[in-house]
């Protein structure tokens, strides 16, 4: 489903965020991406939905060479990839409901469906009560939940979650992880970047560790740290 071949990413300011990455993630897999701050986790995800392009190498998502598609194709690629952004990226002038609904709106879904799916997603993350709030009226965790709801609302075949529990309490974090697991079992490929040791250790999934832009470990049923 996801494949990176000899990918490197050097930013304009000279930072080598990714170096010679080779990674294959199969259909319907659940993978944790771990590593210290600045390791390159977010950058790797950005390559998948073409927010960034690799300096060298090839990025393939769902048999499409992401780094080669035309500008006009990008929106359609992105509709197949739900993303929980590390910094939420909510539209500040829209309510929680509108933010989530927007991801369906762009696909041209009919109105009744938009309403049903949006409420369903808000239900799943427990944000129905805050549906009419604007982002600046939300707590940190509530913003994060909204972002998660938006990522899953159109039931995409691929879900990228970048530090989805950074602002959530342990209980809610577990709830979210169970949600992601359930989504994964419904045949969605899930890639989660996280610093949450307890969760990684408890979930017993494949763990890809990255450090200084290089993959240092790739382990089935892995833990947050080596061993």
């Amino acid at each position: 489903m996801i494949e990176l071949k000899d990918v490197s990413k050097v930013f304009q300011n000279g930072v080598e965020a990714l170096l010679n990455i080779n990674l294959h993630i199969g259909r319907e897999e659940f993978v944790f991406l771990v590593g210290p701050s600045g390791a390159g986790k977010t950058t790797l995800m950005k390559l998948l939905y073409r927010e960034e392009s690799p300096s060298i190498g090839e990025v393939i998502v769902d048999r499409i060479k992401v780094n080669e598609i035309k500008e006009e194709q990008i929106p359609f690629l992105r509709r197949n990839i739900g993303v929980v952004f590390q910094d939420y990226k909510l539209l500040l002038r829209r309510t929680v409901y509108e933010n989530v609904a927007f991801a369906l709106q762009v696909t041209g879904a009919p109105r009744s469906q938009i309403r049903r799916l949006t409420m369903q997603a808000l239900e799943l993350v427990g944000m129905v009560k805050r549906a009419k709030s604007f982002p600046n009226e939300l707590s940190g965790g509530e913003k994060q939940k909204t972002c998660i709801a938006r990522a899953i609302v159109n039931n995409p075949p691929i879900l990228l979650a970048d530090e989805p529990t950074g602002n959530l309490d342990p209980q809610t974090s577990w709830d979210i992880m169970e949600l992601l697991d359930k989504i994964n079992r419904r045949k969605t490929t899930v890639l989660v970047s996280t610093h949450n040791k307890n969760i990684v250790d408890g979930m017993k999934k494949r763990v890809v560790a990255i450090e200084g832009g290089r993959i240092t470990r790739d382990q089935q049923l892995g833990m947050y740290s080596q061993q």
């Binding site: 939905y49 006009e72 929106p75 992105r78 993303v83 500040l92 991801a103 762009v106 109105r111 938006r150």
Partner: protein, 296 residues
């Protein structure tokens, strides 16, 4: 790409876009209003100047002399004949007796002409007003070929000057209105661009969650149109109000200045201004968002 639900969504989005940053929208509408008002004043000014010039030109007339005595009936007949000629607007008749009387009056005190000249030496005169200065030479020629008329005079030099003046005023007015149109375009487009630039982040996020360029663009274009329409209508309201007041003032202060009050022409100008606002708003929305869509 644009289904009915989309269209509805775009329009609602546009209206809410204005509602979400009302201050920015008000400021933008204000700038558009002011700019279009200035533009409208120019248009009205140019039209009025054209009117004044035509008025001047209209005062140019031909003078036709008939030396022999004319019976009032003959004179009336000739007057009718002249007034039926092509390009002629009005013919006024001054009999030789009338002319002599007014001549004597003009020079009374200075020169006791009546004392020395007993017989009236002046000819009968027809003052012929033409419809527009261009046809003057042709009309003069036609009249001079009439056997009843002894001589036709008009000020060729003055005519040339006035014609030249009319041409230059027309050209200058056209060029100026064109320049001002571009200035207005620049200001309106850039004003809307400023409001769009402020939402750079929004556009970026929209693209990240899978919105196509046109999906993002439409609400902005519609928002631009709404701003343009609002600015245009406000400008027309301002223009109407102040023009009516101003025109009345000028007309009563200078009865000799021909102020344009043709309802059709004025409405045409007002509608043009409002449409200008609309089109400029649309262009503004389109251009400004295009750049961001490309970059994001």
């Amino acid at each position: 790409m644009s289904k009915a639900t989309d269209v509805e969504f775009f329009i609602i989005e546009a209206i809410r876009g204005i509602g979400r940053s009302p201050l920015m929208s008000f400021v933008a509408i204000g700038i558009v209003t002011v700019t279009l008002t200035i533009f409208g004043f120019f248009l009205l000014g140019v039209v009025n100047l054209g009117n004044v010039v035509s008025g001047m030109a209209a005062k140019l007339d031909l003078t036709c002399y008939v030396d022999r005595d004319l019976a009032p009936r003959d004179a009336a007949e000739l007057q009718l004949k002249l007034s039926k000629m092509e390009g002629v607007e009005k013919v006024t008749y001054y009999s030789k007796d009338d002319s002599w009387k007014s001549f004597k009056q003009d020079y009374s005190g200075k020169l006791e002409l009546s004392e020395v000249v007993s017989d009236n030496p002046l000819p009968n005169t027809f003052a012929v007003k033409v419809r527009n200065p261009e046809v003057l030479p042709q009309v003069a020629k036609n009249i001079s070929q009439m056997s009843e008329i002894d001589e036709v005079r008009y000020s060729g030099k003055l005519l040339g000057q006035v014609k030249h003046f009319v041409d230059v005023i027309r050209l200058a007015g056209f060029v100026f209105v064109l320049l001002l149109f571009f200035a207005t375009l620049l200001i309106v487009v850039n004003t809307i661009r400023l409001t769009v630039l402020a939402r750079e982040t929004d556009i970026y996020i929209m693209k990240l969650v899978g919105a196509t360029g046109s999906f993002i663009r439409w609400p902005f274009v519609i928002e631009g149109i709404l701003i343009g329409v609002a600015g245009g209508i406000l400008a027309v309201v301002l223009l109407r109000g102040s023009y009516d007041a101003l025109a009345f003032k000028i007309a009563s202060a200078f009865p000799f200045l021909p102020v344009v009050s043709d309802a059709f022409l004025l409405n045409f100008i007002f509608i043009s201004v409002a449409l200008c606002g609309t089109v400029l708003g649309m262009i503004g929305g389109y251009i400004s968002v295009s750049r961001l869509i490309k970059n994001a």
